[in-house]
Amino acid sequence: MTEANASRSERRAQIVQKIIDKTGVDEAMIREVVHDFYAKVRLDALIGPIFARVIGEDWDKHLAKMSDFWSSVMLMSGRYKGNPMMAHMRLKTVQPVHFERWLELFRRSAVETCPPEAAVAFVMRADDIARSLQLGMFFRAGTEAEAVPDLRVVR
C-alpha cells in the first residue's frame, strides 16, 4: 500500500469513528435493526406479500445482504455491492404507498431498537434512499419530479 493510500484509509477510519462517536451505531445494532425491521415487514398486510413473492424462502440470505447494505451505508464498510435501483425498477406493482409503509416500519424499528441519535441517523439515510428510488421508479425523465411527496421526516 502506498503512503497516500495508507493515510487515506486512516482518514476513512477517522470518519467512521466520528459517526460511531456521534451515533453509537455499530455492526450489532445494524443487524438488530435489519432483523427487527424485516420481522415487521413479513407480518405486514400491505408489503409483506410483495417481499414474500420476491424473497420466497430465502430470508437468511436477504437478511445477510441487507445487513451488508446498511453496514456500507452507515459505517462505509463497502461490504455490499449491488444495484438496488435496477432491482426496484423491475418491481412493476410497487407504488409510492408501499414506500410509505416501508418507511413507517423502518422508523418504528429504528426507534424501538436504537438510541435516539442512531435512530435519527438510520431514518435520515432511509428517507433519502427511498426518495431516490422513487424518483427513479416513478418520475424518471420527467418534469414531474417536483411532485414527489417529500417523505422525509422533520430533522
Binding site: 482518514r11 463497502g78 444495484n83 434512499i129 426518495r131 427513479g136
Partner: protein, 120 residues
C-alpha cells in the same frame, strides 16, 4: 436526486469514493470520475469520503451543468469498481479553481491501467 462529481475531481481523481459506493455507480474518465444519476441511490456515503470535496448533492444550487455532465459521461465512460492509483501530481491540483476549462478530457479512463494492477 443524486450526488454529482464536480470540478474539484479533475486531475485529482483520488477514487476513494469507488471503494465505499455500495451501488458501483462511478464511471471513469481520463482525469475525473462521474456518477451515474440513474444508479445512485443518494446514500451519501461518498460525499465525506472525497479528499478533494468534489462530490455534492444535486440539490445544491448551481450544479445543473455538473449533473448534465455526470449523466452524459456515465453513459460513455467505463464503470469503475476498484480504486486505482491517483495521478502522481494529484495534490498539486487539489484546490485549484476552474479545472474544467483547463484540463477536462472526454477520453475514457482505461480499464487495463497498469496502476490498477494491484500496486495499491
Amino acid at each position: 436526486m443524486t450526488f454529482v462529481v464536480t470540478d474539484a475531481c479533475i486531475k485529482c481523481k483520488y477514487m476513494d469514493c469507488v471503494e465505499v459506493c455500495p451501488v458501483d455507480c462511478f464511471y471513469e474518465g481520463e482525469n475525473m470520475l462521474v456518477i451515474d444519476p440513474d444508479i445512485c441511490i443518494d446514500c451519501g456515503v461518498c460525499e465525506p469520503e472525497c479528499p478533494a470535496e468534489a462530490i455534492k448533492p444535486d440539490t445544491e444550487s448551481g450544479l445543473e451543468r455538473w449533473l448534465t455532465l455526470n449523466a452524459e459521461y456515465a453513459k460513455k465512460w467505463p464503470n469503475i469498481v476498484q480504486k486505482g492509483e491517483p495521478p502522481a501530481d494529484a495534490k498539486e491540483h487539489d484546490g485549484e479553481m476552474g479545472k474544467f476549462e483547463k484540463y477536462f478530457s472526454e477520453q475514457p479512463g482505461s480499464d487495463d491501467d497498469a496502476s490498477k494492477s494491484g500496486a495499491a
